[in-house]
Symmetry: none
Subunit: 185 residues, 4 copies
Amino acid sequence: MRTRIVEESMKQFDKNGFTGTSIVDITQALDVTKGTFYYYFDSKEKLLMEIHLMYIKNLLEKQQVILQQPMNATKKLEAIVELLLHSILSDGLSGRVFFREMRHLKNNNEQTIITYRKKFRQNIEKVLLQGMANGEIKKGHVKIVALGILGVTNWSYQWFDENGDVSIEELTTIFVNMILTGIKE
Amino acid sequence: MRTRIVEESMKQFDKNGFTGTSIVDITQALDVTKGTFYYYFDSKEKLLMEIHLMYIKNLLEKQQVILQQPMNATKKLEAIVELLLHSILSDGLSGRVFFREMRHLKNNNEQTIITYRKKFRQNIEKVLLQGMANGEIKKGHVKIVALGILGVTNWSYQWFDENGDVSIEELTTIFVNMILTGIKE
Amino acid sequence: MRTRIVEESMKQFDKNGFTGTSIVDITQALDVTKGTFYYYFDSKEKLLMEIHLMYIKNLLEKQQVILQQPMNATKKLEAIVELLLHSILSDGLSGRVFFREMRHLKNNNEQTIITYRKKFRQNIEKVLLQGMANGEIKKGHVKIVALGILGVTNWSYQWFDENGDVSIEELTTIFVNMILTGIKE
Amino acid sequence: MRTRIVEESMKQFDKNGFTGTSIVDITQALDVTKGTFYYYFDSKEKLLMEIHLMYIKNLLEKQQVILQQPMNATKKLEAIVELLLHSILSDGLSGRVFFREMRHLKNNNEQTIITYRKKFRQNIEKVLLQGMANGEIKKGHVKIVALGILGVTNWSYQWFDENGDVSIEELTTIFVNMILTGIKE
DNA sequence: GATGAATGAGAATTCATTCAT
DNA sequence: AATGAATGAATTCTCATTCAT
């Protein structure tokens, strides 16, 4: 039931937003009562937090796997971009909810998620530094560059259409090239 | 009064979000009554729409000026990136509200804004095409590339801190370089 | 409308208790909507606080009038007992609500009322001291004696029946005698 | 377990009131589940009733012992006042719960407790009558006098502080004197 | 004896909106 | 132009209770 609630709520948060989705909406869709919801979750925010934690923890784990592989910095960056695009776009719901609704977490919860996000960015920064050290990557302001890369990938949840004319694979190729070699001839 | 309402509401939407701001919050801050608000605006959404229109129209006008200048495609792209970063980050409020709260526009209104946004993107695509035609820019999928550029710039509203260690000017330089020549050595 | 809400709520608090009375109960009895209630009162507790303040302030004012009259201590005590019994029993509702529901005030509000109540008791103590000083009243622990007197009077809200076989006037006489000269032959 | 539930609930009713204490509060404190509670008690009210019955039956038994002793009326009244003050204040919890929460008993249950309370009062009345008959006590309205005595004692649960500057023994002496001989010199 | 999942009725509160003045 | 009273639908959350296991 817990899982069913999470899944249904992600669907609805994705469609109507956190604020636009009421507890009743979720429980009615599952054909249970409001009480059931509150048996499993102390509050609406706790549910949102759970969705966020699931998403970011999973992402960090996968990033960790990439970091530990015997690849050069460029390849690692490629892998991370691919990871992000896949998890935002094909894993779908949770990614969009993650990027849109974080604002509705309060105080402690928000800080926790911010910390995880920071961790992810700092891991990218490490790869950049490593690449700069061995001459693969141009020297520069690693934090801003990392945020630039995250901009390219994370913005996708705003516009990507699964049924559009570009597949995630193509998208990944285009964005990886763009990030690595720019758009200038 | 109309202007005062718009300004106060932008402040509060920026701080507490559209949903997190009530009409009373706005009118109390202006020391008027709710009735006054409804004398000037038919609904809360109309107000949000006005803020959106102001922002995107202003942006499109400024983009138009850039497009009509006698510069090559690269320079034009640089100018557009600069325009976006300035209007998101230093013009401040309206930009952040624009990027965060569009979801609260319904049907027609949402479509109108989407159309304007699309216009802005298509203008970037035109510059890209022009650049590809004369050999300045690598040939590629213009729409996706445009969306990549917009990702780099628009994502900034999520993390940029006016009091942080990087100025908007530095940020512009870093991002322009990144977009044009990539990060690879 | 404000007054009507206060009056209706007192009736219902008296009958069903603070917790046993919902906002809907009050508004339905007045044939208005819940919104109307919240237009006049920020919360259910604010309403309860208002009832408490009305009652205790009125009581303190009347007590003040007694204190300033040119009577000896014994007469003043008689007058205060009479005041209490009348305001608890014949003024009716507000007294019973005051004695029963104070527990539902939180923090600040509770403290405020406690302070007022203390003031009332301390005024009784002053009269007792005055009476002890000029030989009217037996020397003793004024605070406890004051609380004993208040016990006799305040407990009445628990059992007094307006339609019973004893009138308030008779009650006052009996209690005044009891307090002054005791029950022993 | 039954006993543990009663004890824990008295603690919590005393602290947060009957309405302010949920079944979960009680069971969590005992580290059992809600089901367990309902295995032992049919409802929350049944539990409250049990606490009330325990208290008043115990009180009536002790009163009976006093009544049967070979003492004059004055001594018996002294003993009853002492009994009440001790059981409200030092036996503690149950007394405070008894006097505060009776209102939450419904219909039959309330009537039962009212009957027991009436019994207790009538026993006091009997002693008063006996005292009046043999010239110990002033002739008067026994019911009202009894209620006056109960006011002095029962009101104590409202303000008595175990850690205050007056002990129960001192309190008893003061109140017995006050009831018997009054406060007038 | 005890559990834990589920219920469902109801509670306080919020808030955009209307409208007569 | 502006007010202020009133609305009513929706929202989050609470909690005593049930019941199959």
